[in-house]
């Protein structure tokens, strides 16, 4: 056979083995540390400054909510807490944020106001996740008429705007207002969104090969849902729950502001803002402090939700 003539630069060339060493086909690197998805996500999270900022803020907020007496010696609930002679005075020693129109110390009210707001946020989130995940998972996994029924129900709840529904119900429950009532009302109208997210996640996972493999093993459907699908659906739910916690706190503050949220007997940021707005032209700072506390609290949760979503993003993790 004749050697074919080739053009310049296209002769048969092969590289020196030293410069192009062959690696074993598909070898495992035994020295790398094992890493589950959560460990990977944690490593990703650790490197983000926003994570640390929001984590610190959340810890501070929770501490204030759980043990307000650690942060102030004044008890704003006491009968002697307010003295009209100090009405709308500015900051002074021991009273860094000044006084309200009633002569109450603003700082201690801000500190004690954390607990009801945070409690509403946390409890509502728990309820909403429990109901929403259960409904969404069953609808997505079992499908059929159950899914259609649940979709219609969620549509109905979606058709009524959240805040509006809360306002209508709370105003009817005038005599029964309290933290638990607010939690229940917000929870009843807040679960459809979680159900929708869960259903979407479950639908996406239902046809994965690892789910089919588990079925082919003989795992019951319910067990497959519990052991394989739900853990993998956790990521978007966690992200949403973190952000939702923030929005529930805003919702509660809005209701309290309108006078139909927490009763006057409970110190709340929303209620204080409502009272303070009457004097906004002369003493805006009385409104500013509870508003800032509210904003920072909510911000810390939704910022955390944002940062966790980025860390759990599969595109960021893919090797």
């Amino acid at each position: 056979m004749r050697e074919p003539t080739t053009r310049p630069d296209q002769h048969h060339f092969f590289a020196d083995l030293d410069e192009t060493p062959l690696l074993g086909v598909d070898a495992i690197d035994e020295h790398a540390a094992p890493a589950s998805m959560w460990q990977d996500a944690w490593r990703n999270l650790r490197r983000r400054p926003l994570f640390w900022i929001s984590a610190v803020l959340i810890v501070v907020v929770l501490a204030v909510a759980i043990a307000p007496s650690l942060f102030t010696s004044i008890d704003p609930n006491a009968k002697t807490a307010c003295d009209l002679s100090h009405s709308l005075e500015g900051p002074s020693a021991g009273h860094p944020m000044g006084y309200t129109f009633q002569g109450c110390d603003v700082y201690s009210r801000v500190v004690y106001g954390a607990r009801p707001s945070v409690a509403v946020g946390v409890l509502t989130t728990i309820i909403v996740v429990l109901i929403g995940v259960a409904v969404g998972a069953f609808a997505g996994f079992f499908g059929g008429w159950f899914d259609s029924l649940l979709s219609r129900v969620t549509d109905i709840f979606f058709a009524i705007p959240f805040v509006l529904a809360a306002i209508v119900v709370m105003s009817s429950l005038k005599s029964h207002r309290g933290v638990i009532t607010v939690v229940i009302v917000l929870g009843v109208f807040g679960w459809p969104q979680v159900a929708r997210i869960t259903r979407g996640a479950v639908l996406g996972l239902k046809n994965s090969d690892f789910v089919t493999a588990s079925t082919a093993l003989g795992t019951s459907r319910l067990a497959t849902l519990r052991r394989h699908i739900l853990p993998n659906a956790a990521a978007p739910i966690i992200v949403y729950a973190t952000v939702a916690l923030g929005t529930f706190i805003v919702a509660e503050a809005t209701l309290s502001f309108l006078g139909i949220g927490l009763p006057d007997s409970v110190i709340s940021w929303g209620g204080d803002i409502s009272t303070a707005q009457r004097n906004i032209r002369t003493d805006p700072m009385v409104l500013f402090w509870p508003a800032a506390a509210l904003a920072i609290t909510v911000l810390s949760f939704i910022m955390m939700g944002d940062v966790v979503r980025d860390a759990l993003d599969p595109k960021a993790r893919k090797r």
Binding site: T20, D26, G218, R317
Partner: protein, 576 residues
Amino acid sequence: MTTNLDATGAPIQQHGTEPLLKVRDLQVSFTTSTGQVQAVRGADLTIYPGQTVAIVGESGSGKSTTAHAVIDLLPGTGKVTGGTIEFGGRDITHLSAKEMVEIRGAQIGLVPQDPMSNLNPVWKIGYQVKEALKANGIATGSEADKRVTELLAEAGLPDAERRANQYPHEFSGGMRQRALIAIGLAARPDLLIADEPTSALDVTVQRVILDHLQSLTEELGTAVLFITHDLGLAAERAEHLVVMYKGQVVESGPARKILSAPQHPYTQRLVASAPSLASRRIQSAKERGIESDELLASTGGTAKPKADDVVRVENLTKVFQIRGSRPGKHTEFTAVDDVSFAVKRGTTMAVVGESGSGKSTVANMVLNLLEPTQGKIFFDGTDLSTLGKDELFAFRRRVQPIFQNPYGSLDPMYSIYRTIEEPLRVHKVGDKKSREARVRELLDMVALPASTMRRFPNELSGGQRQRIAIARALALKPEMIVCDEAVSALDVLVQAQILELLNDLQAELGLSYLFITHDLAVVRQIADEVCVMESGRLVERATTDEVFDDPKQQYTRELLDAIPGSKLEVFGGDAA
């Protein structure tokens, strides 16, 4: 003047003497969260006008990156950090964005890989082709519309005028690829970069499109830079090959030379492992009456003891109800139509077909994941439909699946240990200690170190995950394993490894395989018997030897012809 022949024995046309594309010592790097990664390290490439050159490599070889660097289309953080790219004598390595825009389309065209994701779903096909004409100043207005129809027809799209008014999702995969070819050639570039243009398509469609592309580019005198992972395909279509490995060019030269006398160990591995080439060699060995040692399946030649059927399928039919757009109106889709075959114990039965042939549906029914509409499945003589709940549970231990996508078949939340242990736990086999011992044993069987137990799927490569999937399938000591395109998503060398592993396990454990695949070349290596399916029907059923030597059906012949490299001349060490 000596006539040069390409790898299929056809004479090569002579073209101009100055290189059209000259890439020298190209360096491309990406910035990741862990630092800079060198994707291409010192690549050299030369293409002459009108010539077809192929870059061959596995994933991570840098072949696509090199091609995209030429037209400055590197994704994400990719950057050319060294070397030169000369096109038509002009240095285009660091051109401004505006100048690059002028080169793209008009002088260098691109035909990308995945036809579905590469066409904008919200614009009509005709519009997208017209854009290419307008952007490169070829034509506008009604002139352009006419040209669009001409281009689509030229690319082989039937009924081009009507089709131009349709959307991508109304086209089949092959049609979309033709539209992409029309777009790539619209402005008559001097060089066309074809990035794995047909790897997402069925084999028969692949051949037709590539033939068409070849004749079109020859007619127009367009040079083609062909990217592919299939060495047989590359040798068939190009006269000059460049083999890349881990970002470097390890070998390059005339296709014939590389195939007959590869010098670099990596190329040698590739030549040895590529299924299309192996299939060709087995066939040619047979033709010469020699036993090829590449044949993984047991030959049907020697007399074997009569084996019973581990699985027997009779008149299997599956009809799906598809919800139509009108309420109450359902269309029926027959995925599997009256299929019958039997798998002998200890052998491998391949079910071959293109997409829509129903082969996966058959596999799912054998695994009892789908109810057949009609027909019976017998496992070890027992009719599956007569099994009660507990018996069915016990049945599952005896048949296990391995799926195609290694990235979806392992639960990302489970450690490898948990994944392999799950079958044992579900069927309550042994206690914790004995299960751990069994997991170690299984990892050893699939040639993975025991330390893999603590790892998670996202740390492993595709081939490693498939081994885990195999280990999981073996946990309960099944009699049969259904491999649903189990090696189709793997790189060539890894694929060869897995096929050998499957073969060894079969010999050691007496396993039977139902091997679903679209790749007849793989079938040649591993299967004893073959069922060919088309559109739900069983078209031909015979031993592998019979199918390859004497195919009785036209469709089977088409499938055989479509294997890349089927037209290559005989190689195998005796290039005299």
